[in-house]
Amino acid sequence: MTHLHIADGVLPVPLWVAGLLLTAGLVAFVSYRHRADRADRLTLLGSLAAVMLAAMAVPLGPIGHLSFAPVVGILLGPGLGFLAAVVVNAILALLGHGGITVLGLNALVLGAGTVAARPLFRLARARFEPGPAAATASVIGGVVSVLALWVVLALAGDAGSGVAAGHDEHGRAASAVTMFGGLSATSRFIALSAPFWTLGLAVEAVVSASVIGFIARVRPELLP
């Protein structure tokens, strides 16, 4: 629940078009930066993105699952980690698990946590053992990801869906006044989703600490 698969037709067109363009630009930039990499980086990208898909099959209740983005970000680094997030979101979108048009935004939200993971891990590693350092990177990276989602929803605004809706005399959605004390749609979403993503961040942190701690014991040379 530290990321969300936004569906097609929910966000305004200019927003998801901007998301696609920004993601395309970042993918082009990362591909250029890694153009001279050996092909084993490519096979590692594919393998770890596959583990990310497998980890997402671990359920966390009815509307959540692991993202595994922090671990993949730590192991691959910001550039290839972002590409892994794009690849995973593309495959999920093709399976109907998140929209095709909003692939860019979903990738940016998940990718934000992936990109932040390795620098945060390195910073935390100066003070902590690998496991706790991974947990720290996971929590802060997860918060970055959640903040990116909130920015997307704030940009979408209250009329984001483009659906004709009932409004009161102040232009607020009618039920918002009665049910949520006049909160904006974004604030309502934050209030509704906060318990889920807080739990998600905690679970992701424990799992990330365990995975990185295991790798540090067995194959420490794989860690940055």
Binding site: V10, V27, S31, T43, L75, I91, A93, A209
Partner: protein, 242 residues
């Protein structure tokens, strides 16, 4: 989710319907047409009608409608909080938002359930940088290599008391250890795959197949339906415009 990918892959590889025989490019055009209607459509009737059409298409492709519908319902589950936060007291707003999510998702499921992955990823790889296009192929391929290993790991964890359900932190640490083993297994597999690619003379592009653009008369089906959906969405948008 793991079993979903395997299920969809089996549907795509084993079917012989008209949808399976149509080219990937014409089916991508059909999905683009449906997404146009999803993005522009504001009428629950239009979106419900397209969803019904997609279910008929799935049935005509001999894809089990129940499991396919379940797959397509995922985004509704995920979008429920978003839809609730946007609820304005009318039934139209949640209906349109949920139908948009369902329609887009059904179109995606029809596409992947009738198109083998090399044909599906090849046109995408043509327009994306090499790292991303090849990353899609290798991820999908690696996922199937990982599937049985992951299932064995979860079974072993359950049988050996690693997932008791009595202590969440303890269970999560064991899940982490299991995932750590999968990461190491994947790392070793990636090194072996790299060695194989080198031996076979890797040229810098993983897939060069051309089936995806092999047009036949059957392509009229997705192309015609896609055009009809776009025309209907445009006509309704014009009729509803002030």
């Amino acid at each position: 989710m793991s079993s979903d990918v395997a299920l969809v892959d089996t549907w795509a590889a084993s079917g012989h319907s008209a949808w399976h025989r149509a080219s990937a490019l014409s089916k991508l055009a059909f999905v683009a047409g449906v997404l146009f209607a999803v993005v522009t459509g504001r009428e629950p009737l239009l979106l419900g009608g397209i969803s019904a059409l997609l279910l008929v298409c799935l049935a005509s492709a001999r894809i089990p409608v129940g499991p396919a519908l379940l797959l397509a319902l995922y985004p509704i589950l995920f979008s429920s909080l978003y839809v609730l936060s946007r609820w304005d007291g009318t039934w139209q707003t949640p209906a349109v938002l949920l139908l948009r999510a369902l329609t887009g998702s059904l179109a995606a499921v029809l596409l992947v359930a009738t198109t083998p992955y090399p044909d599906l990823f090849a046109p995408i790889a043509r327009v994306t940088p090499r790292l991303l296009g090849d990353g899609l192929f290798l991820t999908y391929r690696a996922f199937f290599g990982l599937l049985h290993r992951a299932e064995r790991t979860w079974t072993a964890l359950r049988l050996r008391g690693g997932l008791t359900g009595r202590g969440l932190p303890r269970d999560l640490r064991h899940v982490g250890d299991g995932l750590g083993q999968l990461v190491l297994h994947s790392y070793d597999r990636s090194q072996r795959l790299y060695a194989v690619m080198q031996i076979r003379g890797h040229s810098g592009r993983v897939c060069g197949c051309r089936h995806w653009a092999h047009f036949t008369p059957i392509d009229v089906l997705p192309l015609g339906l896609g055009a009809a959906v776009v025309a209907l969405a445009l006509a309704l948008a014009r009729a509803g415009a002030p």
